[in-house]
């Protein structure tokens, strides 16, 4: 299951430093198109495409929930973005533009008070849920209540609201969230925060905040998803089997700028665990769309057989080896450098089946604040590593023969990466052994200080196109006892200061150089050993208009834009 990075929280907490972040990562999550992708925006494909038709698709794993309050996986968001439109939403485009907030069900972007604590919004007129129920302002409060009361993974994003914590603790669904005032007559919504959270508007754009009617029960509605406001509605949802989305024609009447009204009549998604079969079927045009890339085993064939409907794209992600600065031998910078010198990024690329862009930076290239570190202190990422130098450094540090357990999980490609890293460490003089644990407990395990994980596999996918989203991973302030995301316990005052300063700066352009500097310092001081950025793929059948296939930075392929020939 692909769980989305929890990094958004970090962004939210830029101003609320008292709050401690807890973010983790599985494997490849929400992807952003950063690389040069050809497809243009919304209206690109009208000339060749038709309106209507049924698109079939395969997911490898079921969305965790078909309930906007609960779902926190790429699958869930991919499916539900077009069903539950929040008050605010993202522009439906590829690349950086896709990260831009636009009004969704709200008439306009929020009006934020001087002190940054009060957010005022107004609901559009005449909106109806897909079952015909008119949308009321109070539905918003109900929506947030469900997120909190159901202990959704997204609750933390709404805890800054006044009274939210009390509501959560009381555990009574009927209770009131003091900080949310709604007026069903005028459609006005006022949200008060206990503390300043500069990017609270992003929380309002999240899928969690996709509006549901006030009579939606306080329980997991996966079997019978509630109606929403969006171009599609869920007409079938069977966990672990699949679901169906059908077009809501009325949505076009609302005329919400920037939110497409959809071309397809029906989207039919089936859960097929066997990725070989997925690949066969899409190559043979038996199915139109795959959310996951084909297995590495088949890439060559796919490239050959699916010309013009297959394309890898670089995501805003970073893959790195964490090294615990609190544990021997990685408390010694030379040892960490040695690892950086020794890791062969070309080898990593091959382990990823080619779907990895080798990199020296910790920040991904699609991110503001990314400045390519050149020359890379550890040699060209695309060239042979300097193993001799690494051995020498280990000797200098007197770390020869030091025992190291390299942690990884059993999901692809973590396992082979971990085995490779352990072998590399052994080659340069350490005594390293891999240790593979179940993916479901992996981050919990290495994020527990008691584990004293020395080194291991780590990666990060953005849910949010903001460098803070990545940099908190190496910020000393994010270290915690359990659920730690700063696996290496990186705590360099200079880097901390740079990140904190940049995070506080509302002007991202202005803060970008500081992020770049922190990035460079982290690499030079070898706090982490980044090796590249993950590539994902777009792969559809011949029936699909290629230009309508876009990869949104947060939600991946946008169903509301897809079109059949």
């Amino acid at each position: 299951m692909r769980t989305i990075r929890r990094a958004l929280l970090a962004l939210l907490l830029v101003a609320a430093s008292a709050f401690v972040v807890a973010c983790g990562d599985d494997d490849d999550g929400g992807a952003t198109t950063a690389g040069g992708s050809t497809s243009a925006a919304t209206d690109a494909a009208t000339e060749t495409g038709q309106t209507g038709g049924t698109l079939t698709g395969y997911y490898t794993s079921s969305p965790d929930y078909m309930d906007p309050a609960l779902t926190y996986t790429v699958e869930g968001w991919n499916a539900q973005w077009v069903v539950y439109t929040p008050l605010l939403t993202y522009r439906h485009t590829e690349g950086a533009e896709g990260a831009e907030l636009i009004p969704g069900l709200a008439e306009d972007l929020p009006e934020i008070s001087e002190d940054g604590l009060t957010y005022k919004l107004k609901l559009r007129d005449g909106l109806k849920f897909s079952d015909g129920t008119p949308v009321k302002a109070s539905d918003f409060e109900h929506t947030i209540k469900r997120v909190l009361n159901l202990e959704s993974g997204g609750s933390a994003f709404y805890l800054p609201i006044v009274g939210a914590e009390e509501y959560l603790k009381a555990g009574k669904p009927k209770g009131d969230i003091e900080g949310i005032e709604t007026d069903d007559e005028t459609g006005e919504i006022t949200i008060r925060l206990k503390e300043r959270v500069g990017s609270f508007d992003y929380a309002l754009a999240m899928n969690f905040a996709g509006l549901v009617p006030s009579d939606t029960p306080f329980r997991n509605m996966t079997r019978n998803p509630p109606p929403g406001v969006g171009p599609y509605k869920i007409t079938r949802s069977v966990p672990n089997r699949g679901f169906t989305l059908e077009k809501v024609p009325e949505f076009a009447d609302y005329g919400i700028d920037g939110v497409p009204t959809g071309h397809l009549d029906t989207i039919d998604i089936t859960i097929v665990k066997n990725q070989q079969r997925q690949t066969d079927d899409v190559i043979n045009n038996k199915v139109d769309y795959l959310i996951d890339p084909p297995p590495a085993d088949r890439l060559r064939e796919v490239q050959d057989k699916a010309k013009g409907r297959f394309e890898p794209y670089v995501t805003n992600s970073t893959y790195y080896v964490f090294m615990n600065t609190r544990e021997k031998p990685f408390d010694d910078e030379r040892v960490r450098q040695a690892v950086n010198y020794a890791i062969d990024k070309r080898a990593m690329q091959r382990i990823f089946g080619g779907l990895l862009a080798p990199s020296c930076n910790f920040l991904p290239p699609g991110m503001k604040g990314y400045e390519k570190i050149e020359p890379c202190p550890y040699g060209d990422p695309t060239a042979e590593p300097d193993v001799e130098k690494a051995r020498q450094l280990i000797q200098e540090a007197g770390a020869e023969g030091a025992s190291v357990t390299v942690w990884g999980n059993d999901e692809d490609p973590s396992k082979p990466v971990t085995e490779y890293v352990a072998d590399v460490m052994s080659q340069i003089g350490l005594n390293a052994k891999p240790r593979i644990v179940e993916a479901s407990v992996y981050f919990q395990t290495i994020g527990n200080q008691k584990t004293k994980a020395q080194a291991g596999f780590a990666n990060w996918f953005q849910d949010f196109p903001h460098p803070a989203n990545f940099m908190f991973l190496i910020n000393g302030a994010s270290i915690q006892e359990t659920n730690n995301q700063n696996f290496g316990n990186v705590d360099d005052p200079e880097i901390n200061d740079l990140i904190d300063g940049a995070d506080a700066n509302p002007d991202l352009d202005e803060a970008a150089p500081d992020y770049a500097k922190a990035d460079r310092l982290a690499v030079e001081r070898a706090y982490v050993a980044p090796y590249g950025n993950r590539q994902l793929t777009k792969l559809v059948s011949d029936r699909v208009v290629w230009d309508s296939v876009i990869a949104h930075p947060v939600y991946e392929v946008d169903f509301s834009l897809l079109q059949l020939k």
Binding site: S155, A156, T222, N240
Partner: protein, 316 residues
């Protein structure tokens, strides 16, 4: 008979209790991470985790936790820790597939096992018998996931004779598609058993053929075919039939985990395998218990059938 059933039922309850406690202990005594933390997600707050712990009774003592889980199992309210889907619902969805796989394979292995075993016994010592013997032993020696994967690859992917895994409901694709998708899984699962059964039947027949009553039958002047079917086969099959019941129970109860996973049939076995990959205890618990029920019930049924088939056996 009634006493026998009652006694078996009591025994079954005890066995199931023990199985459930054992399963529960495996996951709760051996440290394997905090389910509350897993459920809360990666950006949860301590308060939230606490809340989950309370709601899911993780803060209680082990016996209480056990009781809570059993209560949920028996009230049908058991939900998965990882996605909160109702476990029974998921099992109900998977069961027809597991049964389709198990029953089909069982019929296949029984039929072929009998045919090959009989043929082998009749031709005992000849070349054809020896070839069959070797084939049977090779069948017994092959891991099902390996054969399954190779079959899937060569017959499904390369030659495209069969679909590359997957299950099609009869209601969706009709009986033809359903069969077409199940042929490879049936074969893969049955191979092992065909080997075992044909070997056992062969040796049973060779034992029986020397039994005195077979000689008696021959001395009656009845046809050789009748001697073979009415006397030799009939008696040789009794142990096979009982074995069949037991094996069928084992297959339904988890023996099909690998086959289901390799062919992506999404039956109960695969559900189990995935749940265990997520350390999701409720499904594991439910499937294990269900499997145990199956085994115990089929054991009882087999004992009854045995008593019917062989009048010498008394239920006790």
């Amino acid at each position: 008979m009634a006493r026998f059933v009652v006694r078996r039922l009591v025994g079954m309850v005890l066995v199931l209790f023990a199985v459930s406690v054992l399963t529960f202990l495996i996951f709760n005594v051996i440290p394997n991470g905090d389910p509350a933390v897993r459920m809360a997600g990666k950006n949860s707050t301590p308060a939230q985790i606490e809340q989950i712990r309370k709601e899911w009774h993780f803060d209680e003592s082990l016996p209480q936790q056990y009781l809570f889980m059993m209560k949920q199992i028996f009230t049908g309210k058991l939900v998965s820790y990882s996605d909160q889907t109702n476990v029974w619902e998921q099992i109900r969805m998977g069961l027809p597939r597991t049964f389709a796989l198990g029953i089909g394979a069982a019929i296949l292995w029984m039929t072929l096992g009998i045919l090959l075993g009989l043929y082998s016994a009749v031709k005992a010592g000849r070349i054809s018998d020896r070839v069959l013997t070797v084939l049977a032993l090779i069948g017994i020696s092959m891991p099902v996931f390996w054969v399954g994967a190779l079959m899937n690859y060569y017959l499904g992917y390369k030659l495209e004779w069969f679909p590359n895994g997957g299950y099609v409901e009869i209601s969706e694709g009709g009986i033809g598609e359903w069969l077409y998708h199940l042929i490879l899984p049936w074969t893969a699962l049955a191979i092992l058993f065909i080997g075992v059964y044909s070997r056992i039947l062969r040796s049973n027949i060779l034992d029986t053929i020397n039994d005195d009553y077979v000689r008696t039958a021959r001395a009656k002047g009845i046809s050789e075919r009748r001697v073979m079917t009415r006397h030799v086969l009939r008696n040789s099959l009794i142990p096979i039939v009982t074995l069949w019941g037991l094996d069928f129970g084992l297959v339904i109860a988890g023996g099909a985990v690998l086959t289901e996973s390799v062919f992506d049939l999404q039956g109960v076995g695969q559900y189990f395998a995935e749940a265990i990959g997520r350390l999701d205890v409720p499904p594991v618990m439910a499937v294990t218990l269900l499997g145990a029920v199956f085994i115990v019930v089929l054991n009882t049924v087999v004992d009854i059938v045995y008593a019917v088939l062989d009048p010498r056996i008394r239920l006790g």
